[in-house]
Assembly symmetry: C2
DNA sequence: GCGATGGGTTTCCTCAGGGAACCCAACTAC
DNA sequence: GTAGTTGGGTTCCCTGAGGAAACCCATCGC
């Protein structure tokens, strides 16, 4: 929904951001994944304008992130459910939430906890290496050109991911 | 930068999204973390309007995600560097990139690879449980109210994160 | 003195977002 | 049988954010 479409830029972050880099889209996906599936419920929960909600949902369905399903015939009622592609946005939401918890939770602590059903504990999701399982941070990674890499505007494929250092 | 500010909503995703849920912000952070630190370089690389770039950078500095540093005195030249808070957005970028790679990489493959320096392999970052190290997905997590939880518009603190099921 | 460089600010225009009202089919209560 | 409610949108108008391009200004190299 940016004015200049980013979808054609040769960078997966840009492509993902073209869809997801809208404040409402992230919250819609959070709601759908937490069990809110109906238009009116979403509109109420988010306080979003119905027009914009309709546009976002249409876009998400078009992208294959959500599907619109009839859940009863009389009267015909539709609801939105996440596809596999949509469910995998969960990791983006977890990363956003972990970051928000870390930097914006007040004295009261974070507003929500994530319970990991596999181990039964409340958890803070972390980003790990799919190969060795170690933590992946800006400091211990480098970006290299990939097989589908091509150079163009918005394309950065070289250089250490962390040149920056935190200052007081 | 949404019209309705989301910063006051009691949800870390909303708070993070209020800042990060702008298409340009994610790309600016990607660039800064990959080593592009100067205004003009950012403007050229992103193809963003200089006005919007100035506004975004100012916002990011104000939020403590970037710092503006003089790197030479004569003539005075400034550049933008990520703080620790900014560097931790790396995990959000990794999640976005992994998702984009998985769903949008064409036949050619993803445009970039991430090399994990700790183990030396190219990797796909995954979201893991900070407690047991197992994978965290929409299917094996539940969201529960946290210590700082309060109920309000946009606040969802109950219900399984995956009620949805993928359909063909 | 002359142009280039870095880092912006200003101006103008268009179009996306917000709010609120409207729409319509199908129940449901009386 | 008709009035009201619910779900799921669409239409209208208005404001303000984003884009493009021009302008600004201090400093440098020549």
């Amino acid at each position: 929904m940016t004015r200049t479409s980013l979808a054609d830029v040769a960078c997966s972050i840009a492509r993902a951001t073209d869809l997801f880099g809208d404040a409402w889209t992230a919250l819609i996906m959070r709601d759908v994944l937490t069990g809110i599936h109906r238009f009116d419920d979403l509109a109420h929960d988010l306080g979003i304008s119905r027009k914009v909600l309709a546009a976002r949902l249409a876009r998400l369905v078009e992208e294959g992130v959500l599907v619109r399903e009839q859940y009863q015939e009389h009267p015909p009622r539709e609801e939105y459910r996440a596809t596999e592609k949509g469910a995998e946005l969960h990791s983006v939401l977890m990363a956003l939430m972990a970051w928000g918890d870390r930097w914006y939770a007040g004295e009261a602590g974070p507003p929500a906890r994530i319970r990991h059903l596999d181990c039964g504990h409340d958890t803070t999701p972390v980003t790990a290496c799919g190969h060795c399982g170690g933590p992946v941070t800006a400091a211990n990674t480098t970006e290299l050109p990939g097989p589908g890499g091509r150079i163009g505007p918005g394309t950065r494929v070289l250089g250490p991911l962390l040149v920056a250092r935190a200052r007081p």
